[in-house]
Structure formats: C-alpha cells, structure tokens
Symmetry: C2
Subunit: 128 residues, 2 copies
DNA sequence: TAAAATCGGTTCGGTTGCGTAACGAAAGGC
DNA sequence: GCCTTTCGTTACGCAACCGAACCGATTTTA
C-alpha cells in the first residue's frame, strides 16, 4: 500500500530517524554499509559481492570491505557457494535482523510523530 | 498528520531512498553530515556549532569539520553572530535547499512505491 | 587440456573522518 | 584592569574508507 509524503514530511521523517540513530550508541554505519545491509535483508537472496556491486553502483573492493565490517559486527555472514565455488553468498543473521528491526522501529516512531512542526521552506536561505 | 509504517514498509522505504542516493553521483554524505544538514534545514534557527553538538550528541570538532565539508559543497554557510562574536550561525543556501528538495523527492517516490514486494522476515537468517 | 573469463579478496597510495587536547578571540565577573 | 568562562577552530595521531591494479582460485570456452 503506497504512502504519500510531501517534502516537509519526508525530510522530517528522515531527520528524526537518522538523528535518533546518530545520537544513539549503536555502530556508525556509512550510507553504503546501510544500503548493503538493507538490500541483503529486504531483497530476495542470493546476494553476491558482484550483484551488490552492480545493483548499488559500488566498487567490488568497497563491497568486500563493507562485508568485512558488517560481518565483524555480526550483522551478516559470508558463505561460499557450493555450485560455483568462486562465488560468495551473503547471509543474514539473527543479530542483523534484530538491529534492523530496532532501526525500523525508529523509522516508525518518526512517522508517528509527523506533525509538520517546522515546515521546510525551500526559498528562505540567507542570500547566497 | 502521523503516518503509520510497519517494519517491512519502514525498511523498504529507507532502503529504496538510501540506495537511490548511494547509486547516484551526488556527494557521499555521512550519516552525521546528513543529520546536521537536515537539522539546519528543518529546525528553527539559529543553529550554532555548540547547539548542533549537543542536540545530535556529536563532538564540537566533528561538527566543525562537517560544516567545512557542507560549506565546501555549498550546502551551508557560516556567519559570525554580531551580538556574540564568538558564535557562528549556520545558514541555509539555495544549493542546499535544492539538494534536500531532490532528496525529499526520492523519499516520496520510495513511499509511493511501497507495496510490500519482499517481506522482511526477522526470523529467517541462516543459522548463526 | 590449454587459454580466457569470472569471482572475490588483497595491496597500494591517498583521502576523509574521528576524539583529545590545546589554541586565540570574545564575553562576563569582580 | 584582570581572571575565568565560553565559543569555534586547529593540531595531532589514528582508524576507516576509497578506487585502481593485481592476485589466486575456479569455471568456462575452444
């Protein structure tokens, strides 16, 4: 079911959830790392380094490093593909699911709080 | 007006908007930089280094460096406060407003596309 | 089976970001 | 006038990340 957000609400939602995440003491994931994690958990498997690299337009080494980091956090696991042993499949973990579940709650809470308290005025920057 | 998102929709929304932003050729802003930018543009002024530091729980030097980066991108401008010349006020710019406006459009588009195509199953990671 | 292609990882030099600590400038207290 | 406090920035050493190039392992092609 689609959800319709105007610009003010979209930015307010994003700000509130992102700020909550930044303020918190959870790990500091970059936008790339987060987009990889979300892709792995919300898109149908299998997920490979090459597939993630192409779908997110991120270089392979960057994907590999991001998986190192996500793996070290316990949010993701690598597994060699038995049918093509060159390939690696990225798998989900309970810890990663819990992390994303909590993050989803922050987004939901931000959506619940939407009230257009401080409108975004695209035309009122200083004078530069 | 509040918006109610379940976990699947919240993560799908976030993934789609974030991935679009990562894929694009726009600047690579960290979560901190983005949260600062959003705070400056959606919260009532004035915005000071100290204020941002406290409200986002980020060290003052980190705020200062993020403002360097955002300023060099033209998304934000510093201005000395005439009443307290120690203080710096962070001001919005047209370029920053345009950037956030486009980003808001990506979020809105992600919300419009919500259809629960690939449900998030918190309990189906491998076996780790 | 030999050669080419594919996959993921590592190495390399360079860039960016971090927190602690110290700094100069400005304001406030006395 | 001083001494202290406050504000933002800079210096420093360190960790994380980047893309290009290269590598070994594996699969595919011929």
């Amino acid at each position: 079911m689609p959800i319709y957000l105007n610009q003010d609400d979209a930015l307010a939602l994003w700000r509130e959830a992102l700020s909550a995440s930044v303020r918190g003491d959870g790990p500091d994931l970059s936008a790339r790392q987060m987009s990889i994690l979300l892709t792995v958990y919300t898109q149908p498997p299998p997920h490979t380094v090459r597939g993630l690299s192409e779908s997110l337009n991120i270089s392979k080494p960057a994907i590999s490093r991001a998986l190192d980091r996500l793996g070290q956090l316990g949010y993701v696991r690598r597994r060699r593909d038995d049918y093509d042993r060159r390939s690696v499949q990225v798998q989900r973990t309970v810890k990663g699911a819990v992390f994303l579940s909590e993050f989803a709650d922050q987004i939901s809470a931000a959506g619940r709080d939407l009230d257009s308290p401080t409108p975004f005025e695209a035309g009122t920057p200083g004078d530069g």
